[in-house]
């Protein structure tokens, strides 16, 4: 058992010890043609590695229509959110053909990750990359299609450098994610970046900028948006406890979205080197930071998908909706 692991592109190049950790966790799964592997809204059981067969992913949107469909072939994975976040399944997966492979259960994986074992640490970093890549692909598709109505667009704010601002341990602990951090740990986190105060309606980062900026929102709100000429198309708002600029920091490509402070905001700008260290050797602070990052990567992809779904659904509704 476990040969499927060697054929999964996502885990290609992992060392033998890491693969052995994952093999120890993996369980076989089988699903017959036309049966459901899991439904949107189900609790997450784990990550599925497909060895043979074919799966189909579908999400639903208003009117109970399938929003889009994609297929998962041997060597590919599905259900990756389950190892990053404990939220319900975001899509329904059905077997097109009899399909089998390996399941890496979320609970066992989390336990091993908590021990800092090499396999899960390396595997979850690959998953981060996978989710960031998929989010970027959705954003790029959105950027090209420009489904937003003119009424939805907003003015681009001026770029004004944020001022230095002292962030203390209490401010960090007020964010649920860091509530349990001791003073010494908070100090280490704060030292990994610089505290800033941004004025309302100012641009922080332009789309296309280098991936060297990641903001933790401590107070206030940061908008992530497409640039549409002189205007912005809002994709999401990052409130306190959220990270802005995450996709680029993970996949090390340019910032896909512009980031603007839309309220008076206090931010911790984390430097890229510190973030990279956490990814390679999480340590105590890194584990807490990355757990929050992983949840947000999932959230960001869901938001990008919802933004896409909303635009498509509204377009269809307006094209043919009739009154009674």
């Amino acid at each position: 058992m476990g040969e499927a692991l060697d054929r999964v592109e996502l885990f290609a190049g992992l060392d033998e010890a890491a693969l052995a950790d994952l093999r120890a966790l993996a369980r076989p799964f089988e699903v017959a043609a036309d049966a459901l592997l899991f439904r949107q809204g189900d609790p997450p059981s784990g990550l599925f590695l497909v060895e043979s067969g074919l799966l189909e992913i579908a999400t639903r949107m208003p009117g109970d229509e399938a929003a889009w469909v994609s297929r998962i072939a041997p060597g590919e994975v599905v259900g990756e959110f389950a190892l990053l976040d404990d939220g319900p399944r975001s899509a329904t997966v059905r077997a097109v053909e009899d399909t089998s492979g390996l399941l890496i259960p979320a609970r066992g994986f989390a336990a091993m990750l908590g021990e800092g074992r090499g396999g899960p640490v390396a595997a979850i970093d690959r998953l981060r990359g996978l989710v960031a890549t998929r989010t970027r692909a959705t954003l790029e598709r959105l950027a090209q299609t420009s489904l937003a109505e003119a009424s939805e667009l907003r003015r681009s704010p001026p770029a004004i450098d944020p001022a230095p601002h002292v962030i203390d341990a209490e401010m960090l602990r007020s964010l649920g994610t860091f509530a349990e951090l001791a003073d010494v740990d908070c100090a280490e986190l704060i030292a990994a970046g610089e505290g800033l105060s941004a004025t309302r309606n100012t641009s922080l980062v332009e789309a296309g900028a280098k991936p060297d900026t990641l903001y933790l929102v401590v107070r206030g709100a940061v908008r992530a948006a497409f640039v549409r000429g002189a205007l912005r198309e809002q994709v999401t708002i990052h409130g306190p406890g959220e990270w802005a600029g995450l996709v680029a920091m993970i996949d090390r490509c340019e910032q896909p979205l512009a980031l603007d402070a839309v309220e008076e905001s206090i931010l911790l700008r984390v430097n890229a080197a510190a973030f990279l260290r956490w990814r390679e050797h999480p340590g105590r602070i890194g584990q807490v930071v990355l757990a929050a990052v992983d949840r947000q990567l999932v959230r960001d992809q869901r938001r990008a998908n919802r933004h896409f779904g909303r635009a498509i659904a509204l377009g269809r509704f307006n094209a043919a909706g009739s009154t009674t």
Binding site: Q40, G41, T59, R60, M61, P62, G63, D64, E65, A148, E149, S151, E152, L153, R154, R155, R173, S174, L175, G176, T177, V217, R219, G220, A221, R223, Q234, I237, G239, P240, G241, E242, V262, E263, E264, R306, H307, G309, R310, I312, A313, L314, R316, F317, N318, A319, A320, G321, S322, T323, T324
Partner: protein, 304 residues
Amino acid sequence: MCRIVSYLGTPVLLEDLLYSPDSALLNQIIHAQMLDMLNLAGFGMAAWDPVSHAPASPFVYRTTQVGVFDRNLKLLASKVAPHALLAHIRGVPYNSSVQINEQNVHPFKFDRVPLAMAHNGDLSGFRAMRFDLVEHVRPEFAQHIQGSTDSEWLYALVLSGLDDPLRINQPEAILAAIRRALGIVREVRARHGITRSSSTNLIFCDGVNLIAVRYTFDFGRFENVRLQGTMQFLSMWYTFGRDYGLHGDEWKLVGGAADADSIIVASEPLTRDIATWIEVPEYSALVVRRDGDRRSAEIHALEV
């Protein structure tokens, strides 16, 4: 904090929106899925029934009774089938300073004014702010204010921005009045140095148009540590389709977006499975309007 549900479309039995789905509005009194509190301070609704006497005027019902124990409401809900609805359950802090009375139950709808409004959220520092709001409220509306809530003042502020509040207005006029009201609130907050997060999630309905506003001043600036990073209770959701009802084992609108003629907008989905629900974006308004013999929906940016 409160919970709201609104509907515009093919007539549907009230029971199907208020009671039947697993997270229907009345079930949210005790078990809201996106708000960690009980909503015990009253139930109210405005329901436009096309086969009733004077169908342009809604049937209005308000009670301070906890809705789940209200037998009259339950019986009504099995008989009335409106094509438009704005219903609200009120949630307030658990202390004796709160005024529980019928005048504070949403939705607000002044006599002869077609537009009704319900609010989820609160304006921090409202008691100090309201004296500065008076000058922006028309006297005829100021004297209508009977309750003690920030919500009723917001309603009066919006009405005061309409050229003719006594008729059905175009959505553009209502949106302009909403922007004006939010601008006034922002200015008064600044004058009083109020920087705490304050939410004005509002749903307006006049039986023809529906406008849902998701807007928070100083988003995320809480003093209450417990609230940091928990903004889900300030979200707003919608779904559309046709033939709302129980399909298979699930309450939903079916029929696809292209054949849709009905829309539900609510402070949280009416079902635990939120797969067919979409969020209204922050700092935005969802406008559902009659467009000739059709109905259309748009998102409008709210930059105030």
